[in-house]
């Protein structure tokens, strides 16, 4: 009876783990999300590391570029210090945001650039609808997805490298139409600043490197340009947590534990013995 219960529990646990493993993650930006709004391609194709800012700041800036994409939770003073430390060691930090949540970090870093409220709309140059505008990186086109614009009026050290077209405007009241007084293009969308011995790049769109956007226009080229020879290290500590993601991460940790050489070889040695012993026992039952 006891053995039957054990087998039932084992089978149930296996099914739960299997279902969790194969069930797709749909939360924005997560590395495990292979859907349109995930960063699975950034993770697999560019071997991105996903960690909290404080851990990333300890990485070697010669090998990694720090990405802060679409933050939704507030930044702490420790986060700002970690970013400054990374910059002081000559690192490059890419801040991609369209909700303005990253303005708090920009303020903590004393950077004179801000993400403006509103949605960038280009009724003529877009990849389907005005809210998916085409922007210009030199002669190259970069497609965005519900982007904002940057306020660089106080920024003398900003080098704007990404502009919207002359047809674009910033839809401040989100009614999808141009109203008098709304800022008209060309608007600055991406800037680069040399500060603290490193480089900060601010892009007014969190979606530019999503799975569904990477192959659009010259988005991949822009990513390659920003990365140079480094790998992306993405901050995952400023996104809303998701139970499924957390459980999947737990399973990944468990898998990593089981992949340790000591554990792996122990299992390899003991499992045949246990299998033979248990099979005899089960046969007896």
């Amino acid at each position: 009876m006891r053995e039957e219960l054990l087998v039932a529990v084992l089978i149930t646990a296996s099914i739960i783990i299997l279902v969790t493993w194969v069930y797709p993650v749909t939360a924005d930006f997560w590395s495990l999300n292979s859907g349109w709004n995930g960063l699975e391609r950034l993770s697999s194709q560019y071997k991105a590391v996903f960690s909290p800012i404080r851990d990333i700041s300890l990485l070697d800036p010669r090998n990694y570029t720090l990405f802060i994409i679409g933050p939704t939770t507030p930044f702490t003073e420790e986060d700002a210090i970690a970013v400054k430390t990374f910059l002081r060691r000559g690192g490059k930090v890419i801040i991609a945001d369209d909700y303005g949540s990253a303005n708090q970090l920009l303020e903590m870093l004393d950077l004179p650039v801000r993400i403006e409220p509103g949605v960038l709309v280009d009724p003529l140059l877009n990849i389907g609808i005005g809210q998916l505008p085409i922007t210009y990186w030199g002669n190259k086109r970069v497609a965005l997805n519900y982007a904002a614009a940057l306020n660089t009026s106080r920024c003398s050290i900003c080098r704007v490298f990404l502009w919207s077209s002359p047809f674009s405007y910033l839809d401040l009241n989100n009614n999808g139409a141009y109203d008098p007084g709304e800022p008209k293009g060309p608007l600055p969308i991406g800037v680069s600043l040399n500060v603290y011995g490193g480089e900060v790049v601010v892009i007014a769109d969190s979606s530019v490197f999503l799975n569904s956007m990477l192959d659009r226009e010259s988005n991949k080229e822009l990513l390659n340009y920003l990365l140079g020879t480094t790998r992306p290290a993405v901050d995952d500590s400023h996104w809303q947590s998701d139970t499924l993601v957390r459980f999947k991460e737990f399973l990944e940790s468990a898998y990593k534990f089981l992949s340790l050489p000591e554990i792996k070889y122990s299992i390899a040695i003991t499992s045949p013995l246990l299998l033979v012993a248990f099979s005899r026992k089960i046969r007896k039952i």
Binding site: D28, W36, N37, D55, L58, L59, D60, G70, T85, R88, R89, G90, D98, V119, P123, L124, L125, N126, I127, G128, I129, G130, Q131, L132, I134, R141, A143, N145, Y146, S165, P166, F167, N174, A177, Y178, N194, Y196, G197, S206, S207, L210, S212, M213, L260, P261, E262, I263, Y265, S266, I267, I269, T270, L273, L274, V276, A277, F278, R280, K281, K284
Partner: protein, 623 residues
Amino acid sequence: MRKPAYFLIILLTLTSLVLYAQPPRHVNPEEVQVGVPDPKFFSLTYAELANLLSTENYTGYAELSRYLLQVSAPGDIAYIMSRFHEIAHQEGLLLNYTKTVLERAKQYALLGDTETASKTLSEALTMLARVNASYISLADAAQVLQQRLKSTPTPLLNAIVELSRKYLANAVSINETLIANLTRTNLTLYANTDQAWIGSFISVRGELATDTGTPLPGRNITLLCDGSIVGYTTTGAFGEYNATIRIPYKYVESIILLAVFEPKGNDSLHLKPSLSDPVRIRVLFITPNITLTLEPDTALPGSKVNATATTDLPRANFTLWTFGEKIPANSTEGRASWIFRVPPDAREGTYLIRACTNPYAIYGPSCGLAELVVKKINLTISLEPPQILLALIPSTLKVSIQSSTGTPPNSTQILITIPEIGLAQQVETNNTYAEIPITLPPLASTGKATLNVIATPSDPSYSTATARVEVLLVNPLLLAFVTAAIVGAVTLYKKMRNESETETTVEPPARIEAAPTTTKIEPPEITPKKEPIVQEIQVEDPVVDEYMKALRATEKYTGIYMKPSQTISEYLEAVRPRLGMYSQYFEQISRLVEARLYADTPVDPGLVRKLREELEKGLGGNA
């Protein structure tokens, strides 16, 4: 009950409205339905293009119309739009070209080069014909666009028509000039010198006459210097003219002077315009010598540098250009000094610092250059790692920092990483020597790994230093786990194997051979050493049956199972220590069954049952 329900509905509605007010972060681009572009925007853009055309801003027109070529739209709308935009873009280029060619034709006509002017004009007229031809297609495309997209390109069409008319009028005017039988004129220009000081006056003179030598008195002559008008004069009775020109404050090597005659009024019906040959005047001015010295010429980031500029000018307004900054200074007796700071975040390298004087009067601009080398103080790290790093047990890494100047930085951040196990630790030290405790994570794997150390001083004048060393990681916890797992698995395997073998052998109903109850065993023939194995026990005998029951209870209690090779006595000896005080019952049962089996002695089954019950009672109570 109803009130809370209403409240809940209102709350949900408000929440959904608030959520709706916030635009989405992004949408799936694959799922968006490509809509028709807003015609209002096209109308506005066409009006802007028309405006650019009417001001003949062809650069702006070309830029904006190039953007329009990239506009995306669904289905056939895309073709309708791109047809209109392509022709509009082309029209702009043709009009721009026509304008340029017409201007050239006019210039040739003014110079009297009728042959080239005619050729160029012919080219301009061809261009205009192409503009008109394209316009027919453009008007057609505009009509379709207006019907399908409801946008209004009329202002753009009107602007094109206006410009075409204007250029045609210009062409006609040039043509009239060419076909008229005008008298050619000759204009000469001479200067009294071929070099002059900047700002000084020079005299020029010349003559205006027809190509047959008839002087043209009382005609206006325009004098140009590098294309800018610098004076007017009128010819005298013999067609001669004189003028004084001031050399402009242009600190250049030389300038070009020209005289132009443009027939006005009645003259334009008889005379052709003429242009003199250019006269080159070398401009003289003093270029001051500037010497810039830096003290020191090799500096650390964040440090101060003294810059001194000297010049042979009695007074000069200096500007020092350093690290993207402009610092003005006035000189005293030809000397100016500055103190500037090297930016703390300046990278190592050679920077050019320049001190320039602003030009005034006969003194031209001049710059003195000096090289500033920005160099950080080199740091080196020496490491003394422990021979073996044990997981969970803190080990100490000894780090000493030396600087090339001997003065260490006040504070240094030391970053220690072991990439193989994802370890990253950061500490700050104020000393040149630090003992840093390293604690490996509990799941660090045993093996060789690289320990990297990066020292980043807080003082920007010091460079970052790195060092790496190979270390051996040992995780006793995981090794103990491995050993325990293997030992445990082997033990479990052995136990299960034993259990399985015993249980299979002692299965009474299947294995006991049925011997006839009538079989008699002769006592003398049976010796204890040759006791039959348990398989030969008769199960039908009540005494044997009782023994079997006692045997099972004993096996269960002791965990020792009777092996096929064991005799009743041998098994009794094996379990005796485990049974303790109850061994007497099992011993008596064993002796009785032996007597029954091997001596054929009559045994009372009731006695055996009683003993067995006592045994079970005892064992059951202690189990």
